[in-house]
């Protein structure tokens, strides 16, 4: 499958973009930059100021809540593989990273820069509608989980 179309499908499966129409994802896919990381490196650290979202094209990434831990002792709260997406909330807020991303295996990541996305949103307003829809859906899902938990506790 061609790189562009493959990227569109990867984006379509990412929570931040799953409500964006494929047609609008084309411009996002064209804006993704490929970056190679090697095992043992970190993509970013907790509390760092971030400005990008990452999608794993190849390899494995571990997410931890620890700062400056040694790789061997690191406990991962999640391990991400091909097609998984991380750091996406940073595209919209300016808060520091809430977790660290460690490269477990040599990886190729697709990177979307915050400033680039903002430029795309200004020029392709329909893109932001889809992203808002995705966010709203995630918020609803979170609300539903909270409501269910509350009902069960009652």
């Amino acid at each position: 499958m061609s790189d562009l179309f493959e990227r569109i499908l990867i984006l379509k499966n990412a929570p931040a973009f799953n409500q964006v129409k494929t047609e609008n994802l084309k411009v996002v896919a064209q804006s993704l930059e490929e970056e190679t990381y090697f095992a043992g490196e970190r993509v970013f650290d907790i509390d760092e100021n971030g400005d990008s979202m990452y999608i794993v094209q190849k390899g494995r990434i571990g997410i931890s809540l620890e700062k400056n831990s040694h790789e061997k002792n690191t406990r991962y709260v999640a391990e991400l593989g091909e097609g998984d997406c991380f750091g996406e909330m940073n595209l919209l807020d300016d808060l520091p990273r809430s977790a660290s991303a460690h490269v477990i295996e040599d990886s190729i990541l697709l990177v979307l820069e915050k400033s680039r996305l903002r430029g795309l949103i200004i020029n392709y307003p329909e893109l932001s509608l889809g992203m808002l829809k995705s966010l709203s859906l995630r918020l609803r899902q979170a609300n539903l989980l909270v409501q269910r938990a509350k009902n069960e506790n009652d």
């Binding site: 499958m1 179309f5 499908l9 494929t22 047609e23 020029n123 329909e126 609803r140 009902n151």
Partner: protein
């Protein structure tokens, strides 16, 4: 086999287990109720006396009211399954006490007590059934599955009737109480087991919690009463229910009088009641299984809502004609078959259209106020009728109440659509309404917000608000902007002066003169231009000096003054200076001169000696990297006389692909400088632009070249299925603004709905092609599904402004809300559209896409993948074609470029 049965009963994949649970549960509840009812009536009529029935109605009403207050207190606080469990335990214990008293004591009061216990319990069990179903199913599911679920109850009623008819002569009617207790225990265990598996009912929303339950009950009653005042649906439904209760209970009294007269012993009456229950129950079950849901779907809920009232009227007419067994049996048939088969399911659906949080309260109001009141009235009417000579007079009262019931149900039908619509409006964002609110209703608040924004410490934010305020409230802007200017930097001050200049404030001069001499030449030049703009005679003397100023911005202010006042004696000098500035190679020199190329001076700069200089300068600017200069050049060129200029063609076409939408948009405005063939190509391509403003400009220019613009666009939409949803939407917006008539818009709407159906077929064909795992299929499938949703939505959008007063906007918002409750409410509204053809096309599409349900079998348009691909490629939808080309290339094992 299971799938075939599911299909027949409209049960979708994944729902079977839940429906089976409901069926079994309500089967046992129904069996118990049938046993309890026939036994209690037979014992009461024979051992106590039917003449006391009206009195029982009155006592029953008081009991119902008291118990219902407790119901209202708990119904919204507890998940419905917990409530059911409590109800089963309390009822079983009461029955046990009753049976003990009937067996081991001689008092006859136990029979009216048993009768009343059944009446109260049956009301609570049935009313809570609706709440339980609504807390476990979505409205679309509820509408489809409630008749099936209630069929489980009906099967139980039949079994209960047969059980009673066969066992009561052997075991004795009174021992039937023990049988009912056993059935209640089974029901309890079923609920407990199911909810230990699935947890709390998924759509349960907890009500407020407080310290006093009694206070809460009273509050709920008050809230319910308030709700009655605000909701026409609830009001009409309550009046309808009131007359229904009187009609049903008077009918019950009439038919039971006939039966008690006809059957002499307790056993024979008990057996008859059992058989009657089984027979009427069987008919009701068949109706529920095979008729009710189809009738609701095909005839609409409103017509089905009228069946039982009409049948009640007919029953009374028969009884008035002949007060004998056949009439009584028809009366029982109407009450025991048509009421559960049509009236109850429809009532549940109506109730579900009320806001979810209030449904429990609405039910409580029915049980606390309306049913007891109806019962009391029925009892009083019957007692009065007993005291007069012709006891059959009460039938007249029943008939009148049946007619009133029919009238209020008809009113309820009218209120139903309005209720859903207003609920959706409250919950969804409807852009036009919001806009209207800002422009009309809450303008004062909006202006206050804007003024607050102008006071922001951030200069840039303040500037944005200044622009908005100058357009929405120029008088306020003229006062507030100068105040804010005192605390801004020179760049923002410069912009604010330009804003003030456009609103022609009387105090502008005073404010501007104070700022002159800040040391910033650009700012001073702007101030002079603003002063000259108002043609203030006191400032005219400055023009000559400025014309000779060494700074190009000041010089351009002088030129502006000469041309704008005008000052004829300085004209030649001004033109000369202007030309000289334009010829300069330095941007700081020529840009102030370019900024003077406004429409006001067009007649001057399109003449020699300026024309050629301007043209060359604009060509130069188009080749620069500065987007602001490109935009300015294009804006000036948009006012250039129409002609074909070869030297500009490539430049404009190249800029029309810019990533900046404003440049793409400006290119379209200069399209009159391109050859005819290029213009059409550019405009059609721009209809697909990602930015709505560019698409809007494209359609405006395209249509302006036509003698019949509406006909031209209609032709593009209907005959040529032009473009992607975004270009179709642009064309529809143009038609709406151009005032296309309702017939035209409806024709377009139908055409789009048909196109959406074809796209859906393509999507289904692709999914069933056996290529599911291929990424190319996934992408094309995604693209097709998106097109189905968009095109279906557009078919509704097309009739949005025609004749539906904004209802369509509400329906669209509901359908696209991603909220299953709003979605099902919107679907319900869609069924009530006047255009049946459109509804039949659109509704199944939305249901299929959002619920995954396959509505009907259709002949496929496509024989094979290749015809499908060709069909997509022949559509003028660039993205869909791109996906299809890619898919086709992969299929043919070619490398995609």
């Amino acid at each position: 086999m299971l799938q075939r049965i599911s299909g027949l009963l409209l049960i979708k994949h994944g729902e079977q287990q839940q429906v089976f649970y409901f069926l079994i549960l309500f089967f046992f509840v129904g069996t118990g109720m049938a046993v309890g009812r026939s036994a209690s009536e037979a014992l009461f009529f024979k051992r106590y006396g039917i003449e006391y029935l009206p009195l029982m109605f009155i006592i029953n009403s008081v009991l119902l009211c008291a118990i219902s207050i407790l119901y209202a207190a708990f119904v919204d606080l507890l998940p419905s399954e917990k409530f059911y469990k409590i109800l089963f335990i309390v009822l079983a214990l009461s029955l046990l006490g009753n049976w003990y008293a009937a067996t081991f004591s001689t008092t006859t009061l136990v029979y009216p007590a048993f009768f009343l216990l059944y009446e109260v319990a049956s009301e609570l069990l049935l009313i809570h059934c609706a709440v339980y179903i609504n807390q476990n199913l979505l409205q679309t599911q509820s509408k489809r599955l409630t008749p099936v679920i209630l069929a489980g109850h009906q099967t139980g009623v039949i079994s209960g009737g047969i059980l009673l008819a066969s066992t009561s002569p052997i075991l004795g009617v009174k021992n039937m109480m023990l049988l009912w207790i056993s059935l209640l225990i089974i029901s309890y265990l079923l609920i407990a087991s199911w909810h230990s598996k699935i947890g709390v009912s998924p759509y349960f929303r907890s009500g407020r919690k407080g310290s006093s339950k009694l206070k809460q009950s009273i509050d709920q009653l008050a809230q319910g009463t308030k709700l009655m005042k605000t909701s026409r649906l609830l009001r009409m439904s309550s009046f309808g229910l009131f007359f229904k209760v009187i009609s049903v209970y008077v009918l019950a009294y009439a038919v039971n009088n006939i039966y008690t007269e006809q059957f002499k012993t307790e056993e024979s009456l008990g057996s008859f009641f059992g058989l009657l229950t089984a027979a009427t129950g069987t008919i009701a079950l068949l109706l529920q299984l095979f008729i009710t849901n189809r009738l609701i779907r095909d005839q609409g809920i409103k017509r089905v809502n009228l069946i039982f009232p009409v049948a009640s009227i007919f029953s009374y007419c028969l009884l008035l004609f002949s007060f004998a067994l056949p009439s009584a049996i028809f009366g029982s048939f109407s009450k025991e078959t048509l009421m559960p088969a049509f009236s109850n399911p429809v009532r549940n659906i109506f109730n579900a259209s009320l806001p979810a949080r209030l449904q429990g309260r609405a039910q409580a109001i029915s049980v606390i106020l309306v049913i007891p009141l109806g019962l009391t009235c029925a009892g009083v009417f019957l007692m009065l009728a007993q005291s007069i000579e012709n006891i059959h007079n009460f039938l007249i009262i029943g008939l009148i109440c049946s007619i009133a019931y029919l009238i209020f149900n008809n009113e309820m039908n009218q209120a139903y659509a309005q209720e859903i619509l207003s609920n959706l409006k409250k919950r969804l964002f409807i852009p036009d309404n919001q806009l209207n609110d800002i422009l009309h209703g809450s303008q004062h608040d909006a202006i206050k917000d804007i003024e607050q924004g102008l006071k922001s410490d951030e200069d840039e934010i303040s500037l944005v608000y200044a622009r908005v305020l100058s357009k929405s409230a120029p008088d306020r802007a003229a006062i507030l902007i100068p105040q804010r200017m005192k605390n801004t930097g020179n760049a923002v001050k410069d912009q604010m002066i330009k804003i003030l200049q456009s609103i022609q404030s009387a105090d502008l001069r005073k404010c501007l003169v104070q700022v002159i001499g800040s040391g910033d030449t650009k700012l001073d030049a702007t101030i002079f231009k603003a002063l000259f703009h108002s043609r203030d005679i006191r400032e005219k003397h400055r023009v000559k000096a400025l014309l000779s100023h060494e700074h190009s911005r000041m010089k351009s202010a002088g030129i502006y003054g000469v041309l704008h006042y005008p000052v004829p004696e300085l004209f030649d000098i001004a033109i000369d200076k202007w030309n000289s500035l334009l010829n300069s190679k330095q941007a700081e020199n020529y840009m102030p001169a370019v900024e003077l190329l406004v429409p006001e001076f067009k007649a001057l700069y399109l003449q020699p000696p300026l024309r050629e200089t301007v043209w060359q300068k604009l060509m130069q600017m188009l080749q620069q990297d500065d987007t602001q200069r490109i935009k300015l050049a294009l804006e000036i060129l948009s006012g250039w006389p129409p002609a074909h200029y070869d030297e500009i063609k490539d430049q404009i076409l190249s800029l029309s692909n810019s990533s900046d939408w404003a440049i793409r948009n400006a290119c379209l405005n200069t399209s009159h400088l391109l050859p005819e063939t290029e213009v059409r190509k550019l405009l059609l391509a721009s209809l697909e632009d990602q930015h709505p403003n560019v698409r809007g400009t494209a359609i405006r220019i395209l249509a302006s070249g036509q003698t019949d613009d509406i006909g031209y666009i209609q032709n593009m939409l209907v005959d040529k299925h032009a473009g992607s949803p975004r270009s179709i939407k642009t064309m529809l917006e143009y038609l709406m603004n151009a005032g296309a008539d309702a017939g035209t818009m409806l024709a377009i709407s139908l055409s789009l709905a048909n196109d959406a159906r074809k796209l859906r077929q393509a999507s289904i064909y692709l999914k069933n092609s056996g290529l599911q795992d291929s990424p190319e299929v996934t992408l094309l499938s995604h693209a097709l599904e998106e097109r189905v949703i968009d095109t279906t939505d557009l078919s509704l959008f097309a009739i949005q402004t025609s004749n539906h007063d904004g209802d369509i906007a509400v329906i669209r918002a509901g359908l696209n809300s991603n909220d299953s409750r709003q979605f099902s409410n919107a679907c319900e509204l869609l069924t009530m559209l006047n255009n049946r053809e459109l509804t039949d096309l659109i509704l199944p599409l939305f249901e299929e896409v959002y619920t995954g349900k396959k509505n009907r079998h259709e002949n496929m348009l496509f024989d094979n993948i290749s015809t499908l691909i060709t069909w997509i490629q022949n559509r003028s939808d660039p993205w869909l074609s791109e996906c299809a080309n890619h898919f086709s290339a992969i299929l043919n094992n070619k490398t995609y470029v």
